[in-house]
């Protein structure tokens, strides 16, 4: 068997990908970073304003409230999307009757476009013809009926419920793939030793899919930080500013107020928040410290 030798000209194969990366990621990123230190209307020459755009964050009550909202969104996304994705995957792992059907049903919403999903849910949330109000009325909870997307107290939760629900199937598929890598012997041993389903889940399934859990957590959190389309399509940030999040606020500042510099600064803020979460979760956080190793499995402890 020969050994593959490294030759310097092999690096040339990296050039196309590198050029695309530099052109479509690094260059725009640097441009955005530079723009964040300017005041620019997109037409006239940019004016350097130092850290003024960043200082404005502290005076921008809409942005501050928006950051609070995406933190709530991230928490709910991890709990619901990742949590339910993992639970459903664990339930489906054993290839129960109807396994393929349920997997397809859970995954089906993932392939629907955000605009179609938003339209469907706009109708579902309608105060007159929406199935939610009709359902509430039908089971004697008519007093709860109201305009879900027009009431500032419910609009944000109603809006983020759509992407959270839609992504459960995506995470389910990731977890399902991870769980199918776990040798059946672990489960069989645990059952022989009398472990109950909960013990099996927490002592075997969970430790052995921590790698996927970390990835899913990062995906769930960063998508909450940067998602624009659902809020824009469902509420446009309203009523008032009660559903504004940094991504929609960035869009409005950039493309409606023509404040490209401030919009760029918000983009940098979203980037930094996303990177922070990724580093914490993937690197030094509790999930990051744990490694996906068979020795983490506490087979003995699985037996009560």
């Amino acid at each position: 068997m020969g050994t593959l030798r490294f030759r310097h000209w092999y690096a040339a194969y990296l050039v196309p990908a590198l050029v695309l990366y530099l052109l479509f990621f690094v260059y725009p990123f640097i441009q955005t970073f530079i723009s964040s230190f300017t005041s620019w209307d997109g037409i006239s020459d940019p004016v350097f304003v130092g850290l003024d755009n960043y200082a404005e964050f502290f005076r921008d009550s809409v942005l501050v409230a928006g950051i609070g909202r995406i933190l709530l969104w991230a928490a709910l996304a991890v709990l619901v999307k990742v949590g339910l994705g993992l639970v459903f995957a664990a339930m489906l792992r054993d290839r129960l009757r109807g396994y393929k059907f349920f997997t397809s049903v859970f995954f089906f919403p993932v392939v629907i476009s955000s605009s179609a999903m938003s339209l469907i849910f706009t109708l579902m949330y309608d105060n007159d013809i929406g199935i939610i109000n009709k359902g509430l009325g039908g089971i004697g909870l008519g007093f709860l009926e109201h305009s879900w997307l027009s009431d500032p107290s419910t609009a944000f939760l109603a809006a983020i419920a759509v992407p959270i629900y839609q992504d459960i199937g995506f995470f389910l598929v990731i977890f399902l793939a991870a769980l199918q890598d776990i040798p059946n012997e672990y489960y069989e041993s645990a059952r022989i030793d009398g472990a109950n389903p909960l013990q099996i889940f927490f002592r075997i399934t969970l430790p052995l899919c921590l790698g996927s859990l970390r990835v899913c957590t990062v995906l769930a959190v960063t998508s909450a930080f940067k998602t624009f389309d659902y809020i824009f399509l469902l509420t446009s940030g309203g009523p008032g500013t009660s559903t504004q999040v940094p991504a929609t606020w960035m869009y409005l500042q950039t493309f409606q107020s023509f404040r490209y510099g401030y919009g760029a600064a918000i983009a940098m803020l979203i980037f930094v928040l996303s990177i922070l979460v990724s580093v914490v979760v993937m690197g030094s956080g509790p999930l990051g410290r744990m490694r996906r190793r068979p020795e983490n499995v506490d087979l003995e402890g699985a037996v009560a």
Partner: protein
């Protein structure tokens, strides 16, 4: 082998020449094919209003100019503002486009200063063009002595009421301010939505009632001064007027006004007889169901006792113009076609087609076919021409202020503020 290479080179050369010829399709000389890009928000999914007219006009123009293709770049309503902003920012301005007035509220001052917008003064000076429009339209189209756009159509904000709803609710049609103050809660108590409107920011329609109240109280110039930051909203006299405004607006729109756009709000509430009044841009008149138009009436918005306006005015102005890119106008091949297209789109024949679709055209002596438009449009047209005009108060706001103003208006409609709180929020936004 060499022969094969030569063949490949020859094929590539032919392909390159063909491609280059294709690239210059818009600029090919000698009567060659010309493609004009036309950015517009006049073509929408709904087959009413401006859509059928603009489609028909493009089709007619292309039939008259077989070598010309009009490439439509459509966007919906205010989304056109972002499209045009990006076009100027990227120095890729469409050959022709329709847009709002050449005013800072629409960033037009920046577009003019960029040198990318065509100066249409010569074209506007041609007798066949100049005579189509009144002086007031040309004044609006002129900035620093130069004409930047050819007038297309006007807007007004008529108060349309559903007489049947008022009658069923046992509420008289409001003739006076006191009538209106009494009618709004009475309509709600009778189970009707007093005002049809959308409070979505992009719809920019929930400020019409505030405009009227401020205009009636302080006059159009006085109201504009508030938004230009020349007078404080927290002035006690202003706070009192805001209190009166909130008394007829807060909580009196549809519950789901924030989830509906204007078309949806009209379809859901006004066209179904669930709402009593509609105070919006006349451009939405074609969306009113013609089968119930006999129940509708157009009444003047009442004056306020002690207010600056003694006689009722109506908010109206030139609202849509045709513009061109400077580069296209200077192009030897495209320039003449652009001029022809601008003149064609704003010609008396085109104006007549718009008028027949219930659009308030800018041209003079254009008589719509009332059999097509119906009595409601005729009443709006009559009121618009007979009453003195007030400028839209958004003329006093910058694009950045617009963006914070509309969410505030949406909140005010839900009853989130007292008059003092509302005044303070407005003052923080506009006071210089």
């Amino acid at each position: 082998m060499h022969r094969r290479k030569r063949s490949i080179v020859a094929v590539l050369a032919v392909a390159a020449v063909t491609a280059l010829a294709g690239c210059s399709g818009g600029g090919a000389g000698g009567g060659g094919p010309v493609t004009l890009t036309f950015a517009t928000n006049l073509i929408s999914a709904e087959e009413n209003g401006t859509s059928p007219v603009v489609k028909e006009l493009i089709s007619q123009f292309e039939a008259q100019h077989p070598n010309v293709e009009i490439e439509e770049q459509t966007s919906q309503a205010t989304a056109l503002q972002q499209v045009i902003q990006l076009a100027f920012a990227s120095q890729n301005v469409p050959d022709v486009f329709n847009f709002w007035r050449p005013q800072p509220a629409f960033n037009m001052d920046k577009y003019i200063a960029s040198g990318q917008l065509a100066d249409l003064t010569d074209l506007a000076g041609e007798p066949s063009v100049k005579s189509v429009f009144p002086d007031s339209s040309w004044e609006t189209a002129t900035v620093d002595g130069k004409v930047w756009g050819l007038p297309l159509y006007n807007f007004s904000v008529p108060l349309v009421v559903n007489k049947k709803v008022f009658a069923d609710a046992g509420v008289p049609l409001p003739q006076t301010w006191a009538d209106l103050e009494a009618a709004v809660p009475a309509l709600k108590a009778a189970g009707y939505v007093p005002w049809t409107l959308s409070t979505q920011d992009a719809q920019q329609s929930d400020d019409r009632l505030l405009d009227y109240v401020l205009d009636r109280a302080f006059g159009n110039d006085g109201a504009l001064a508030l938004f230009r930051g020349e007078r404080s909203f927290t002035d006690p006299a202003v706070v009192q007027v805001l209190d009166e405004y909130l008394s007829i607006s807060s909580g009196f729109g549809p519950d789901d006004a924030a989830a509906l756009d204007n078309n949806a709000a009209i379809a859901k509430y006004f066209n179904t007889g669930r709402s009593a009044m509609l105070l919006t841009n006349s451009g939405y008149l074609p969306t009113i169901d013609k089968t119930i138009a006999q129940d509708m009436a157009v009444i003047p918005f009442p004056t306020i006792p002690g207010g600056a306006q003694i006689d009722p005015h109506i908010e109206k102005d030139l609202t849509n113009l045709m513009y061109a890119s400077a580069a296209s106008m200077e192009d030897d091949t495209k320039g003449p076609v652009v001029r022809d297209f601008l003149k064609f789109m704003t010609s008396p024949d085109a104006q007549k087609m718009f008028a027949d679709e219930s659009i308030l055209v800018a041209g003079v002596n254009i008589e719509p076919d009332t059999a097509k438009t119906g009595d409601l449009f005729a009443a709006v047209q009559e009121q618009t021409s007979s009453l003195d005009g007030d400028k839209w108060l958004g003329n006093g706001r910058t694009p950045s202020q617009q963006q914070t103003f509309y969410p505030l208006m949406g909140e005010a409609w839900t009853g989130a503020f007292t008059a003092q709180q509302f005044a303070e929020r407005l003052d923080a936004m506009f006071r210089k």
